[in-house]
């Protein structure tokens, strides 16, 4: 099945060979860009309707089911609605910054999608420090939140934007720290090398993905929590939910600009899920040796869709966190756990050659214990902070 796996690569090379030599690199890049944008735009449309239907089923109701078979043409109706809405800009708003804020969100997110390995030999841009590039452009998305909130000339938008930025900055730290353990073990920042490092099989049949090691499991959970907070999804959607209650940073946006924000947020979710798949779930590697005939891109997108469904599931289950709960969770729970994770990864790496009786299992259990004890202790710490009684100084006791 080698040819099916590489069908897109060979297809692109065949198409590009029609052009003269000087235009070939540009044509190749343009083809790849078109493909990525097309795939992720379609995935965005499918995700919106899938999310609404799954949330509906979780909440004992149907999702949208009038447009098209079982409602699956709903994104088309939504797209037409967004395009035909009046584009209202407040009179006192800062027109240039108001216009540029959605672009400032879309550009870093589209750049982030360019470094993920979607299959064997299928990275759009291969960087030696690809992971660092991903985090760099991820940090740039916070600017757009600020621009949106400030340019609306609305007190509530500004407060919402400040809260959003505070949340995103606080959760950058556990996000990056939880990936450091992966970098340490693999020894490279390149995403392609990280995927290739997970292509082995333990005991001949069990997948050698990072998520099946103690530091990888903890890192994966930490990464997913921080990723939920970075993409402003439930239960960390305080910036978004403020739009329902008061006004968030998205208030003054209507029509297509709002659709761009929405799309940027979902693309951010795809990008960070793609990174989680790459770092922890083995990228485009097959889970078992007998499944290696499946093309690599299908495996990648299957894992990506599984993570997106997990995001939707969490949205349907968990209530929203308050701002102070959110911050204390990030700084007092996730950060110490991420630092412990780095230590555990170091222990794992240096105990690899230690010859002990019952070696692989013992190593796993020891590392898991070193992680579990701070988890329980810190968990009790932040849970207790919620349970102290409030003292009202001026009331009768």
């Amino acid at each position: 099945m080698e040819s099916l796996d590489q069908i897109f690569v060979s297809g692109k090379q065949w198409l590009v060979a029609f052009l003269p030599e000087t235009f070939q690199p540009i044509a190749s890049i343009l083809l790849v860009i078109t493909a990525i944008l097309g795939i992720f735009a379609t995935l965005f449309a499918v995700t919106t309707i899938l999310e609404r239907k799954i949330l509906g089923r979780i909440q004992n109701r149907f999702g949208p089911n009038r447009v098209g078979p079982f409602g699956f043409l709903q994104p088309a109706a939504d797209g037409i609605k967004m395009l035909t809405k009046e584009d209202i800009v407040p009179r006192d708003a800062d027109k240039i910054v108001h216009f540029l804020a959605p672009l400032a969100l879309m550009i870093p997110v589209a750049l982030a999608l360019a470094v993920l390995p979607y299959g064997r030999n299928m990275v759009p841009v291969e960087f030696d420090a690809g992971l660092l590039f991903f985090f760099a452009v991820g940090a740039s998305t916070e600017l757009s939140v600020f621009m949106a909130g400030w340019s609306s000339r609305n007190k509530y938008s500004l407060v919402g934007a400040m809260r959003g930025i505070a949340q995103m900055i606080s959760y950058e730290v556990p996000l990056v720290l939880s990936t450091i353990s992966v970098i340490m073990i693999v020894g490279s920042l390149s995403l392609v090398k990280i995927v290739e490092a997970q292509s082995g099989f333990v005991f001949g049949w069990f997948p050698g993905w990072h998520v099946f090691t103690p530091w990888g499991l903890a890192g994966f959970v930490l990464f997913m929590i921080a990723a939920t907070a970075e993409s402003n999804r439930a239960p960390f959607d305080l910036p978004e939910a403020e739009s329902e209650i008061i006004a968030g940073y998205l208030t003054e946006y209507s029509g297509f600009k709002y659709a761009l924000f929405f799309m940027g947020e979902y693309w951010g979710m795809f990008a960070i899920s793609g990174l989680a798949v790459t770092l922890f779930l083995g990228g485009w590697n097959a889970p078992f040796p007998f499944l290696q005939f499946i093309p690599s891109y299908i495996l990648f997108f299957a894992k990506l869709i599984a993570l997106i469904l997990t995001f939707i599931w969490m949205r349907g289950t968990l209530p929203r966190l308050r701002l102070d709960q959110l911050m204390s969770f990030a700084w007092k729970f996730l950060l110490p756990l991420a630092l412990t994770n780095i230590v555990v990864a170091a222990i794992w790496h240096f105990s690899k050659d230690l010859q002990l009786p019952g070696a692989p299992g013992l190593r796993w259990i020891f590392c898991a214990l070193v992680l579990a004890i701070p988890y329980v202790w810190l968990g009790r710490g932040i849970a207790q902070a919620q349970r102290t009684k409030r003292i009202y100084k001026f009331a009768e006791n």
Binding site: D94, F146, T388
Partner: protein
């Protein structure tokens, strides 16, 4: 000179000039962000991947936000329409700028190092940078780490002190006895009207 370098340099210089001369302070801060991004593009053009990405991560991702927060929390971001962007003593300013930059350019051009042949470009992979940081430059690394830790602890102490003075935990308010309660009630009761 390559086309890419000309475009990036033009963008960087243009945004730097705009950052100086725009009226709105937040617009200036956003043009500064563009300048940082232009610098990062120049690093990338010189094939220094790590420095370029670190520039985006640190400057655009963190320092820019810091500048914007500082601008918003301290200043009124609307300048008066009749303030002049250029200060009155601009002739002296141009003279100083020309003399300083002329001296530096003269020193760089006449330096002996520039006349030598270029050494082979080192392979600036992340691994080599890491090795250098841990062996040759470990002392600056640790001092910078100490500095950052001190800054963080200072920030936490400043933030914590305000909190502690406001909320007192486990302090019981004094209970008022019955006699005191009656005194309060009688004091606040309306004065009795005299019957005529």
């Amino acid at each position: 000179m390559e086309i890419a370098f000309v475009i990036i340099a033009g963008l960087t210089l243009g945004s730097a000039i705009a950052a100086m001369s725009l009226r709105n302070l937040v617009h200036c801060a956003l043009c500064t962000v563009l300048t940082f991004a232009g610098l990062a593009a120049m690093y990338l053009q010189l094939n220094a991947q790590f420095v370029g990405f670190a520039q985006i991560l640190v400057y655009v991702g963190a320092v820019a936000i810091l500048i914007l927060f500082a601008v918003l929390l301290t200043r009124n971001s609307e300048t008066q329409p009749n303030t002049r962007i250029a200060s009155p003593s601009w002739i002296v300013g141009i003279f100083v700028a020309i003399s300083v930059s002329g001296t530096m350019i003269y020193a760089v051009i006449k330096s002996t190092k520039l006349a030598q042949a270029l050494p082979p470009v080192p392979d600036a992979t992340v691994k080599k940078i890491g090795e250098q940081l841990m062996t040759n430059y470990v002392l600056p690394l640790e001092i910078v780490a100490l500095l950052l830790t001190a800054a963080m602890i200072g920030a936490v102490i400043i933030a914590m002190r305000d909190k502690e003075s406001q909320i007192e935990t486990n302090v019981k308010p004094p209970r008022r006895g019955d006699a005191e309660k009656e005194k309060i009630l009688r004091a606040s009761a309306p004065p009795r009207r005299r019957q005529i």
